[in-house]
């Protein structure tokens, strides 16, 4: 029994609460940015807060942004999603651009944990004309046919067999003989 599923779960693509069917609801509920006011490792987070945080909050009104200044702690961001999942990312020595990138990653995710997808599509209606079964392409005549039947009993014509080909070759040689003058 493989324990692989313990480390990297696999599954099929899905969305929480049929998202996108009725309307699209952004799934990121809250994001908490923890940083230290003086430590060099939080410099990127501090730059981000000073410059882009307001603009980020305006573009994502559906997400609450919490800032948590903690002395002598490594910076990190924790995202909480509507389906209850929490995602932790350490932002130690991140640049401002990296913080922006990872924040946009957190915003566009759906909270479903990262997994290996077994298939790249998901449909609840795989077949409309009915799944193939041995009866689909069978002609109903087979029910009332009396065997041996002139069409159904005929073997699938796989082309001339070897003996037929030999006979043909022999016939071709036959025709040439009478033309030759008698010696």
């Amino acid at each position: 029994m493989s324990n692989k599923h313990l480390f990297l779960p696999s599954g099929f693509i899905r969305t929480p609460l049929q998202n996108g069917l009725g309307r699209y609801i952004p799934q990121l509920q809250r994001i908490t940015l923890k940083f230290c006011k003086n430590h060099g490792g939080s410099r990127g987070v501090r730059d981000f807060i000073e410059t882009d945080l307001m603009e980020f909050a305006k573009t994502n009104p559906g997400t609450v942004v919490y800032l948590k200044p903690r002395r002598h702690r490594y910076p990190c961001m924790v995202a909480e999603y509507l389906n209850g999942e929490r995602e932790y990312l350490s932002c130690h020595e991140f640049s401002r651009a990296e913080i922006q990138k990872w924040l946009s990653y957190m915003c566009t995710r759906s909270g479903i944990p990262v997994m290996r997808f077994r298939k790249y599509n998901h449909t609840d209606y795989p077949s409309i004309q009915g799944v193939w079964n041995p009866f689909t392409h069978q002609a109903p005549e087979i029910n009332v046919a009396q065997f041996p039947h002139e069409i159904l009993s005929k073997p699938v014509d796989n082309g001339p067999t070897a003996t037929d080909q030999l006979i043909e070759i022999f016939k071709k040689t036959q025709i040439k003989d009478p033309v030759k003058p008698e010696h």
């Binding site: 899905r14 969305t15 996108g20 990653y105 995710r109 599509n121 209606y125 004309q129 002609a139 069409i151």
Partner: protein
């Protein structure tokens, strides 16, 4: 490209058997075949058009070409697009490359694509995230040389909102491919 309503082989063979076996001048044989074919064509197109008008064709499925791959989609499906896709979360895109559209009773096959004014497939971007960490590991044997690269590539999950037939099959609008474009 339409097929006659006769769905399987054997009814067809009866049709052939009923045709006059004695060889007639070529033109005439073609003539009466033309009549019956035109009648069948008109009748088939009439049936499909009536289903389109009454919207009684049931669920539709389409084969669309999106981001390099062909996918069979129907209403409400989820598809995954690998690689960075320009559309952002919540955007609605219209998939224009529709190769085939099918329902329970008829199939419209594009050569290679169906007219854009005939079919409308709308797609909403529901999630944009990174895949799980894939390892690219190279090992040169007995040379104590190994290299490992970790990669998380972009992907987007999209919801198919609707697969809809908008025009009749044989009526072409005067100017084609203009809808929705601003001049």
């Amino acid at each position: 490209m339409l097929r006659s309503a006769a769905s399987n082989n054997f009814e067809g063979t009866k049709l052939n058997a009923s045709q006059p076996t004695s060889v007639k001048p070529q033109q005439e044989v073609l003539e009466n075949q033309q009549e019956s074919e035109i009648a069948i064509t008109k009748e088939t197109i009439e049936k499909v058009n009536s289903q389109i008008e009454l919207n009684s064709h049931g669920r539709l499925f389409a084969v669309i070409h999106l981001a390099g791959k062909q996918r069979r989609v129907t209403d409400g499906d989820l598809i995954m697009i690998e690689g960075a896709h320009p559309a952002d979360v919540g955007d609605v895109i219209r998939a224009e490359k529709v190769l085939l559209l099918g329902s329970r009773d008829f199939t419209l096959i594009g050569r290679p694509l169906l007219r854009p004014d005939l079919v409308r497939v709308e797609v909403t971007v529901v999630e944009k995230s990174l895949t799980h960490t894939k390892t690219v590991f190279r090992n040169r044997r007995r040379k104590n040389t190994r290299s490992i690269n970790f990669c998380r590539s972009h992907f987007s999950i999209m919801r198919i909102n609707c697969v809809r037939l908008e025009g009749l099959v044989d009526q072409r609008p005067e100017i084609e491919g203009v809808d929705g474009r601003v001049f």
